[in-house]
């Protein structure tokens, strides 16, 4: 537990991705099995242990401390795990602290009633950092800035393995992943992929610019609409226990039981997860967001926001690996497969075109109806894991832009910690500015310096790392779409906002009005 606690404690302060990878590699290299595998599982969200409810932990704390002092402390610290870790009156040095493996295995083998007593005993034996890590683990969701993908990347980097290989194997194995560590340390063979419902790494596309088309022959390519949902892989199962995987490789089956119920087939499909709107049209992305990131989903949610998958590729059928076939052959197989109507699945059509100019016109018409541009795929390309250059391109429609006024600036992290680099911007509603979003990229380093200086010279108020500024700097903000949102005062949220230009020339009073942005909302 000491090594895992030290790792979490360092990760939480580490702003850079490379720094995190370095810390994780060090942990894998210096921590024995099974602890490191449980640690990896905890970071990747695959470690299944009985979780402790916050209320139970609070109760445990009040058996050891004055409830009034606990209340003052919790109020001050604001994080339950940290409050308890810091004020738990354990001595911490009498007994050897438990290992992570011991904790995980003991929890799994214990009855529910025994858990509070076990936790109390461990809290007594651990130091403050160890207590904090244990409580983070027990409350689920470490939230220390490490995604499942980053954890897997660290394993790949450290063991000089291919990330795609790890992702493909990942769902067939469980913590403590001893086979994977043996493989990474060249002590054992590559573990075999198991079962039909394993995850297969996605083939991804490169972005393309208009001027690059001159070098390409339109006859080599087909086009498809680029749908505005989330990319998923559906591994069907005739037994009804299929899987839905997100781009990250995360298993999101539990969130989409409606899709799983319909996936009673022996095939692995690639497509876009969408929510059905009017008729068979995709609803706005905001509707899909209602369904995302939920651990449990109610009947009502499913009825109100029915999910479906618009498929465009087939990777396996009846155990046959189709990934080595050219796109054209796979598409024939997909068309035949989809000839049988299936609930929650439909086919993404192939878009016909002769010339790049014709395609350009099609792209211009791709706004609305859940589209965000076009995909181009080489007819002869096999399905290759990763992001190969050449076979697949995405050609997104032009972004929308709005001229917004800088309202707040926040200091960045890591290399940007002395710069005001995160910007909240707003537009006019009558004579008041209302925030519509935040952006922290899209400008050059030189421009960042200019904005930083401007922020420092035009500050009206300071709140910790945030400065409010007087309305005076207009930012041209590019974004992919505008949608309704109850989270912002303006009632509007932007997707992928980025600063596209600094409008030093434009007076703040001439920035856009909220009603102009409202007209851009889709759906």
């Amino acid at each position: 537990m000491k090594a895992f606690a030290a790792l979490l404690d360092q990760l939480i302060y580490q702003p850079s991705r490379l720094g995190k990878l370095r810390l994780l590699a060090d942990y894998f290299a210096t921590t024995p099995d099974p602890d490191r595998g449980y640690g990896l599982g905890a970071l990747a969200g695959t470690l299944d242990i009985p979780h402790a409810k916050p209320a139970a932990l609070r109760e445990l704390m009040t058996t050891r401390a004055d409830p009034v002092l606990f209340a003052y402390s919790y109020d001050y610290v604001g994080d339950l795990a940290e409050t308890i870790a810091l004020m738990w009156p354990g001595a911490g040095a009498n007994t050897a602290p438990p290992t992570l493996g011991h904790i995980v295995e003991t929890l799994r083998a214990s009855s529910k009633q025994a858990v509070p007593g076990l936790i109390a005993g461990w809290l007594d034996d651990l130091d403050a950092t160890g207590r904090w890590a244990l409580l983070k683990l027990l409350t689920g969701g470490l939230r220390i800035g490490v995604s499942a993908r980053l954890a897997k990347t660290a394993l790949a980097d450290w063991g000089a393995l291919d990330l795609a290989d790890i992702e493909e194997l990942w769902h067939g194995y469980e913590p403590p992943y001893t086979e994977m560590f043996a493989w990474a340390e060249k002590r054992g063979p590559k573990p075999p992929a198991t079962g039909a419902t394993a995850f297969r790494p996605f083939m991804l596309s490169q972005a393309i610019e208009e001027q690059e088309f001159a070098a390409l022959d339109p006859r080599d390519f087909i086009a498809e609409w680029k749908w505005d949902g989330i990319r998923v892989q559906v591994a069907g199962s005739t037994g009804g226990d299929g899987r839905v995987f997100a781009r990250s490789g995360d298993d999101i089956s539990a969130t989409f039981p409606d899709v799983i119920a319909a996936a009673r087939f022996e095939a692995v499909l690639d497509g876009e997860l969408l929510v059905r709107g009017d008729g068979f049209n995709p609803a706005p992305f905001a509707d899909l967001q209602q369904r995302l990131n939920r651990k449990a989903v109610t009947r009502k949610m499913i009825d109100q926001y029915p999910a479906f998958v618009r498929v465009y590729d087939i990777l396996f059928e009846k155990g046959e690996d189709l990934r080595g076939l050219p796109w054209e052959h796979r598409r024939q197989r997909l068309d035949a497969f989809m000839a049988t109507p299936r609930d929650a699945f439909d086919l993404s059509p192939v878009v016909a075109f002769d010339t790049w100019d014709a395609l350009k016109e099609l792209r211009a018409s791709s706004r609305g109806a859940g589209m965000e541009g076009l995909m181009l795929k080489r007819r002869d390309a096999p399905y290759i894991a990763g992001r190969p250059k050449g076979p697949w391109f995405k050609w997104k429609r032009d972004p929308l832009t709005v001229d917004a006024v800088l309202m707040y600036a926040q200091r960045g992290h890591g290399k940007r910690s002395s710069f005001y680099s995160d910007y909240t911007f707003g537009v006019w509603r009558d004579d008041e500015l209302v925030p519509i979003g935040k952006a922290y990229f899209g400008f050059t380093d030189a421009e960042l310096k200019q904005i930083d200086t401007w922020v420092r010279n035009n500050t009206t108020e300071r709140f910790g790392p945030v400065r409010a500024v007087s309305p005076g700097l207009v930012l041209e903000v590019a974004f992919d779409a505008a949608q309704r949102s109850t989270r912002h005062k303006s009632g509007i949220a932007l997707r992928f906002p980025r600063v596209s230009r600094l409008r030093w020339d434009k007076p703040a009073a001439e920035a856009d009005l909220l009603e102009t942005v409202e007209k851009l909302v889709e759906g």
């Binding site: 302060y13 004055d66 002092l69 402390s73 810091l86 002395s418």
Partner: protein, 346 residues
């Protein structure tokens, strides 16, 4: 009448601060007064412009360094009672920073001790806190929550040195208060065997020179100003906390941002400030030490000046010690506002 009520009749909270009527003086006044008695040199306790100032010799020197020579300056020695008006005032070490003192006030057979800011841990740069039994003990409460339990400072310095080994190519930029914390960190580093030159932000130079004048050995110190960037790779640079996020810090090459403060105990605080290496080193008593101090001083009553008064008053009440908050304003020692302040140019 109980002793606390009697003391309250001659030691009162006024807008300028705590006023001792029989001596006709204010303690750590926040606005200019005729006669000021100062516990220690931190900016929220020692301010310029008073008619006369009574303080320890180092505190007077610190005030002179910060505000220029003070009119009517009178130096007090630790442990030697001084008659002021109708009362006796004795300065007793508080263990907070160089020159810091508790004020022992005696009048009509009753004794009140104004602790000022204090700590109970060993500090090689100043004499340790001394326990003085009294009727009323007036204490700070900066870290008066059970979550504040400062770790051993040697362990914190070891983490800094460990980071220097893991990232030998990076500059370790350590935020530390100009008065007290910076010098303590330097001496702790020297004790841990770190003998290389330590680089200083310009705002720390004056106070370090003053500590040296009082016989504190700080080893070789060099100003950052004028040093080529490359010379700072792999070195320790000390700066005021505000400079960590100031434009000044940009001249450092991929710095590891460290910060020495008791507040670093709370992870979200450290994270919010963008600190990569929080060092929990405090010049204040932690929770257990506050309670321990009251147990040792055995006062009839405790008054609480600034910090988290409610929690301390509650805990003392449970211990059976009558306690009340004084609601003094203007003291924000090591507080967050202080942390975000911008540094003077170097």
């Amino acid at each position: 009448m109980n002793p606390s009520a009697v003391v309250a009749s001659w030691l009162k909270v006024t807008p300028a601060g705590l006023r001792a009527a029989p001596g006709n003086f204010w303690i750590d006044p926040v606005t200019p007064v005729d006669r000021a008695v100062i516990t220690h040199g931190h900016g929220d306790h020692a301010r310029g412009g008073h008619g006369s100032v009574l303080a320890t010799d180092p505190t007077l020197a610190i005030m002179a360094e910060r505000f220029g020579a003070q009119s009517g300056a009178q130096a007090a020695r630790y442990g030697e009672p001084i008659t002021v008006g109708d009362m006796r005032v004795t300065f007793v070490p508080a263990g907070h920073v160089l020159g810091s003192a508790q004020l022992v006030l005696e009048y009509n057979g009753l004794r009140a001790v104004v602790s000022g800011d204090y700590k109970r841990r060993r500090d090689p740069t100043c004499p340790p806190f001394e326990v003085t039994p009294c009727d009323v003990f007036i204490t700070e409460a900066t870290f008066a929550l059970p979550v504040f339990c400062h770790p051993d400072d040697g362990g914190e310095i070891a983490r800094l040195l460990h980071s220097m080994r893991v990232f030998p190519e990076r500059t370790h930029l350590v935020g530390a208060y100009a008065l007290g914390k910076a010098q303590r960190v330097i001496v702790l580093l020297r004790e841990a065997g770190y003998s290389a030159p330590i680089y200083l932000h310009g705002a720390l130079a004056g106070m370090c020179a003053l500590y040296r004048h009082y016989g504190i050995d700080l080893g070789e110190l060099r100003p950052v100003a004028g040093e080529p960037l490359k010379a700072l790779a792999g070195q320790i640079v000390l700066c005021p906390p505000g400079a960590l996020s100031d434009r000044w810090s940009r001249r450092m090459h991929e710095p590891v941002t460290a910060m020495a403060s008791g507040w670093m105990r709370i992870r979200q605080r450290a994270k919010q400030r963008g600190v990569e290496l929080p060092l929990v080193i405090s010049d204040h008593a932690d929770w257990n030490e506050l309670l321990q101090t009251v147990r040792e001083v055995k006062p009839g009553a405790v008054w609480i000046t600034h910090g988290r008064e409610e929690a301390l008053a509650h805990a003392l009440g449970v211990m059976g010690v009558p306690a009340q908050a004084l609601s003094l304003v203007g003291y924000d020692d090591e507080n967050d506002d202080d942390l975000t302040g911008t540094a003077p140019p170097s």
